[in-house]
């Protein structure tokens, strides 16, 4: 009946792709760079993300039923568009490949000690292939359903962690003299926030999506920011700023440190947390994989969607096995986050300016 996505589905897509692997080491990064006042850096990052979300949503809203491929061609011409497309494809592709590898490593080190990493990568990729081959509407539905489940459980778990934490660990809340270091810290915690560029590949329809979509998207980004602050603060309250900086998987380490005796059976929360985390990872994977498949299919117009998905998935598996050590993976992820700034910040701003300049062209059409 409806061939496009509703506003809520788009907001949940945002949630699905942004909240993913980043929540695991986030508390450590926040504590390391910002101390107890690190939440302020998160706040600044949220605001910046919100601004860029507005820009990208605006682009999609003004150019109805067009994705970045079409409207970038309209605004800047074929040459620049192809360059942008290649950057985007590489970005999306490396994004989900590296996260799959990193997440498999984390899972191997924390819960399944002997399972080889390539087996886990394969499992993830099979699920990703199955989902992406069904198309964006199915992906949007999955993200909507999982988004609800994830939000409910994640909030519950964080509040439970808070009850076991000590508020003295969170003080001082804000030190005015350190404000420069907070702003500097923003550059190190970009990784949990990237993902908004997925909006560039989703066409907004005139009938289904009204002006409310701006409200939904920005509200969702703000909500994600608050969720992140909650996660970071709850981890710090249990482990203390000085202790948490040694743990790369800070959220899981925190959950393993607490026990809630009143919930008899579910006393140890990591059994609930791990499936939820895997679900959030999964939403990130399929959205990012869909982004790369979609743009690749725009470049190679003749091959079918399923064939491209298959090729992308196989290539991803091969490339995911290339780095040998976790340090290499982390470096790659740093590069990806810089690429992410370009992709979600600079390119949309260029297109936004171009739209505004040529606005008379597009609006009067």
């Amino acid at each position: 009946m409806n061939n496009s996505l509703t506003d809520r589905q788009i907001a949940f897509i945002l949630f699905g792709i942004i909240v993913g692997y980043g929540i695991m080491p986030m508390a450590k990064n926040v504590a390391e760079n910002g101390g107890t006042g690190g939440w302020f850096a998160l706040l600044i990052a949220t605001l910046i993300t919100a601004i860029f979300t507005y820009i990208i949503t605006y682009l999609g809203y003004v150019h109805k039923n067009k994705t970045i491929y079409e409207y970038s061609q309209l605004l800047l011409g074929k040459f620049f568009t192809n360059i942008f497309m290649i950057i985007y494809i590489i970005y999306f592709f490396m994004f989900f490949t590296m996260i799959i590898r990193m997440a498999s490593e984390v899972i191997r080190l924390t819960i399944l000690l002997k399972t080889p990493v390539c087996a886990m990568c394969l499992l993830f990729l099979v699920a990703v292939y199955y989902a992406v081959s069904k198309g964006i509407r199915v992906i949007a539905r999955i993200c909507e359903i999982y988004g609800l489940i994830i939000i409910i459980f994640l909030l519950t778990i964080q509040l439970a962690i808070f009850t076991q934490g000590d508020i003295i660990n969170l003080k001082p809340f804000f030190v005015l003299e350190d404000i420069k270091s907070y702003i500097k810290a923003t550059s190190t915690i970009i990784f949990p926030f990237i993902g908004i560029e997925i909006l560039a590949v989703i066409p907004l329809d005139k009938k289904e999506n009204s002006k409310k979509i701006f409200g939904y998207n920005i509200l969702m980004v703000v909500f994600i920011g608050i969720l992140y602050i909650l996660v970071a603060e709850s981890c710090i309250s249990v482990m203390g700023v000085d202790g948490i900086i040694y743990y790369k998987d800070s959220l899981l380490a925190t959950i393993r440190r607490i026990e809630i005796p009143h919930l008899q059976f579910l006393r140890r929360l990591d059994g609930i947390f791990l499936p939820i985390w895997i679900m959030t990872l999964f939403c990130t994977f399929i959205l990012s994989a869909y982004g790369s498949v979609f743009l690749t299919s725009k470049l190679f117009k003749n091959t079918s969607h399923k064939k491209i998905t298959f090729v992308v998935v196989i290539t991803s598996f091969i490339i995911a096995q290339i780095p040998n050590t976790i340090n290499q993976i982390e470096k790659l992820m740093d590069y990806i986050s810089y690429l992410g700034i370009i992709v979600s910040g600079i390119i949309p701003v260029i297109l936004f300016v171009a739209t505004k300049v040529k606005r008379y062209d597009t609006k009067n059409k």
Binding site: L123, R141, I278
Partner: protein, 476 residues
């Protein structure tokens, strides 16, 4: 005159055909009247009293013609006059009687159909406490009459199709014209008319043809046995497809969450409705996930549980020779064998099987130390919850999926369990039942519909579910 000869030749042909057609010959004044019918399909009392008797008693036998017979003599209510000799066999096979006159080139087709059918009986597949107990049976007219007397709306449409080259089964599509979404009804009609098959004997065949994909796991048409449920669905904006010869009626489109609905909820208080619906949802979840969770926890992550539980599980399994994965698979298999056996057995032996099964599996296996008692509890809970889920036809995919989940969590632990769950969700989300997303109203999310589903109170749910996109949006 010419035509009559053709008819007479046809009659001779039919006599030799082996179709078991009976021919009754009456004669008046050199005019011969042949009545052709098949005994097994004809109401012979009606034939005698309403056709043969008035013809024989007709004093005015001078100018007997087909028109005169049809309009003044014969008593039957449903009469047709036709002249094509090729259609004679068709009519006779449909159960009609043909009256051929030797001086006319037309013939009368009289509807004297009578076939064996069950009386209207209580439903056997869908049981209920409070709803109406007259269920459909195999006769199409009977079923249509059950619907007609409940919905007296002039907009109620019954479109008939004939499907099946050799069986020529009547299929009726029932809907209310100004409620239903026109796209859906056109789609259904198009698909029905494109079915080209020899014979249709069950609504299941129709179900498979009108759906998209033979490999879909989950059922996308609802199966209705009771007439009040069918009428509720029709009023809601759905379409009912009735097949002659089978008492189970299809309703289209149907979403996942509607399989968890039982009509009893609508008739009782709100609290019971919310409670039973929550119970059913939990039952489905438990029935898919319990065994695989057991395998994942026992074999991969026992430290998720508090220490006392770990010790209890370990001592329970101390004497079991199998490992947890094999134990789970074997027990589930045995339980499935029991279930299949109890469906297929004749009624006299049925209860005996359940006793044997309970004793063998429950007591003896655990006492012999072959399986741990915890596993027995888990398997029986898993079976019981699958029965509690509501609609019987939703259970079948769950039975299959359980094994996949057990295997996945047996290889990958809690990661496999989550991935299995994700794969099932992807499958659910990708099904579209005639354009309606299978997981509506969860996604696209509509809070009102979810609340209405849980509360199931007719006074509070004023609008029809949004995902059906009906023309008439309000119920009240």
């Amino acid at each position: 005159m010419n035509k009559t000869n053709i008819f007479i030749n046809k009659i001779d042909e039919l006599k030799e055909n082996g179709l078991d057609i009976s021919i009754r010959k009456l004669s008046f004044n050199n005019i011969e009247i042949y009545i052709l019918y098949i005994q097994q399909l004809t109401d012979r009392d009606k034939l005698s009293t309403d056709i043969i008797k008035p013809i024989l008693l007709n004093k005015d036998c001078n100018n007997i013609s087909v028109d005169k017979l049809a309009s003044s003599v014969v008593y039957i209510d449903n009469i047709l006059i036709d002249d094509s000799e090729n259609k004679i066999i068709e009519y006779i096979l449909e159960g009609k009687s043909i009256i051929v006159l030797s001086n006319d080139n037309k013939y009368i087709v009289a509807d004297t159909l009578k076939i064996e059918k069950r009386k209207t009986m209580p439903p056997q597949v869908e049981s209920t406490l409070r709803g109406a107990k007259d269920s459909f049976n195999e006769n199409l007219d009977n079923n249509l009459s059950l619907i007609r007397y409940r919905i007296k709306d002039p907009n109620l449409r019954i479109d008939k199709f004939i499907i099946g080259k050799r069986s020529k089964t009547n299929v009726a599509v029932v809907y209310i014209k100004d409620i239903v979404n026109p796209k859906i009804i056109n789609d259904v009609k198009k698909r029905l008319s494109s079915i080209a098959i020899d014979g249709v004997f069950e609504s299941g065949y129709i179900q498979k043809f009108i759906l998209n994909n033979a490999f879909d796991l989950f059922p996308q048409c609802g199966i209705v046995e009771r007439s009040d449920t069918a009428c509720t669905n029709i009023i809601d904006g759905k379409i009912c497809i009735m097949v002659e010869g089978i008492s189970l009626v299809l309703t289209v489109p149907k979403t996942f969450i509607e399989f968890l609905d039982a009509s009893d909820d609508h008739y009782d208080s709100i609290y019971i409705s919310v409670f039973s619906k929550t119970l059913r949802i939990l039952s489905i979840l438990i029935s898919i996930t319990l065994s695989s969770l057991y395998v994942a926890v026992v074999a991969f992550h026992p430290d998720i549980l508090p220490p006392k539980y770990i010790l209890a599980m370990a001592t329970g399994r101390a004497t079991v020779p199998f490992n947890a994965l094999l134990e789970a698979l074997i027990m589930e298999f045995v339980a499935e064998v029991l279930r299949e056996a109890s469906i297929r057995l004749p009624q006299q032996i049925g209860p005996a099987i359940s006793i044997v099964g309970a004793i063998v599996i429950g007591q003896a296996a655990a006492a012999a130390g072959l399986v741990s008692s915890l596993m027995v509890i888990i398997v029986s809970l898993s079976i019981m919850t699958s029965f509690a889920a509501g609609d019987y036809f939703m259970i079948n995919p769950i039975r299959v999926l359980k094994y996949i989940m057990i295997l996945l969590s047996g290889v990958f632990g809690i990661l496999g369990f989550t991935i299995g769950f994700i794969l099932i969700t992807i499958n659910l989300c990708s099904i579209e039942s005639f354009g309606v997303s299978y997981v509506a109203p969860l996604s696209p999310f509509n809070f009102r519909d979810i609340i209405n589903f849980f509360i199931s109170d007719i006074t509070l749910s004023k609008k029809r579910p949004k995902f059906l996109h009906t023309r008439d949006k309000t119920r009240q």
